[in-house]
């Protein structure tokens, strides 16, 4: 069970959270074509490495927040509030 640092509540156990998948995926425009809709709905980078994600502290403050986590080590590199800018991760890029 991961230990996740909620940017509001601090480190809390994973069971209080809901993973909401990859971050920064834009909804398709109302008139988007099939490819664009499929991209928005289904295509994910599924990165092996640092991945930007959205999590929600459901059984806590209820807030969505952003995170960067390494999908091989399962370690969170950073979590930050919606609206805050992404912390400097020392040049480690994600896609």
């Amino acid at each position: 069970m991961l230990l996740i640092t909620c940017p509001w509540c601090g480190p809390r156990p994973e069971i209080e959270f809901a993973a909401r998948g990859e971050a920064h995926v834009a909804r398709a425009a109302p008139d988007a074509d099939g490819e664009a809709i499929a991209a928005a709905l289904y295509l994910r980078s599924n990165t092996r490495g640092l991945l930007a994600e959205r999590w929600r502290h459901v059984y806590g403050c209820g807030r969505y927040f952003n995170a960067v986590r390494h999908t091989v080590t399962d370690k969170f590199v950073a979590t930050w509030r919606v609206g805050e800018s992404r912390p400097d991760l020392g040049g480690e890029g994600t896609r």
Binding site: W8, C9, G10, P13, I15, Y59, G60, C61, R63
Partner: protein
């Protein structure tokens, strides 16, 4: 014609369940009926709510503020659980109606029900289902948060070193009670 006076006196849902009195090691008692609101809003409304509720809403994460008979529990950066004695709901609602800034006030007096948990083993009993660190250093007196108790969502508020208030939704009360009763089995006063 239904007899309107026939309405039963209000009791909290936990009151219907078997009392759990293990003396000084662990006791769980139903709360007296309370008025509860969920208040949500942005900065301007939060300021105004202080006046309306007569209590500064705590701005520190996971902290409660209280006066003699009212309390405001921080549940999220724009969310508070407001507690007041039973019967004060309409007055509170009226006061909040005066707030011009956008906000939301929703009566949840009957949605939630609660227990007063105390005793030297209270943290051990809670940790049968609650995954949080309940050590005083990690969960000091005055801390409150939404969390889990086994498979139920609860709000937990530490009132004193050995005393917590636990709230859950009313239909979860028998379940929460059952898990607490099981966990408390080994903490009898003799034991």
């Amino acid at each position: 014609m239904a007899d309107l006076t026939a309405l039963p006196a209000r009791v909290e849902d936990f009151a219907g369940l078997a009392p759990l009195d293990h003396g000084s090691r662990f006791t769980a008692a139903p709360l007296v009926p309370a008025t509860r609101f969920v208040f949500r809003g942005r900065e301007a409304a939060i300021e105004a709510a202080t006046a309306a509720f007569g209590l500064a809403l705590p701005r520190t994460a996971c902290r409660a503020a209280e006066t003699a008979d009212r309390a405001a529990l921080w549940l999220g950066p724009d969310e508070w659980l407001l507690l007041a004695p039973d019967g004060e709901g309409e007055a509170i609602a009226a006061a909040f109606r005066e707030i011009a800034a956008p906000h939301s006030l929703v009566d949840v007096s009957h949605r939630n029900t609660g227990l007063d948990l105390s005793g030297s083993e209270v943290a051990a009993v809670l940790n049968a289902g609650c995954p949080l660190d309940l050590h005083l250093a990690a969960f000091p007196v005055g801390m409150c948060t939404r969390t889990l108790f086994a498979k139920a969502e609860i709000v937990l508020w530490r009132r004193a070193v050995d005393r917590f208030r636990l709230e859950c939704w009313r239909s979860f009360a028998p379940y929460v009670h059952g898990v607490i009763a099981d966990a408390a089995l080994e903490y009898t006063d003799e034991g």
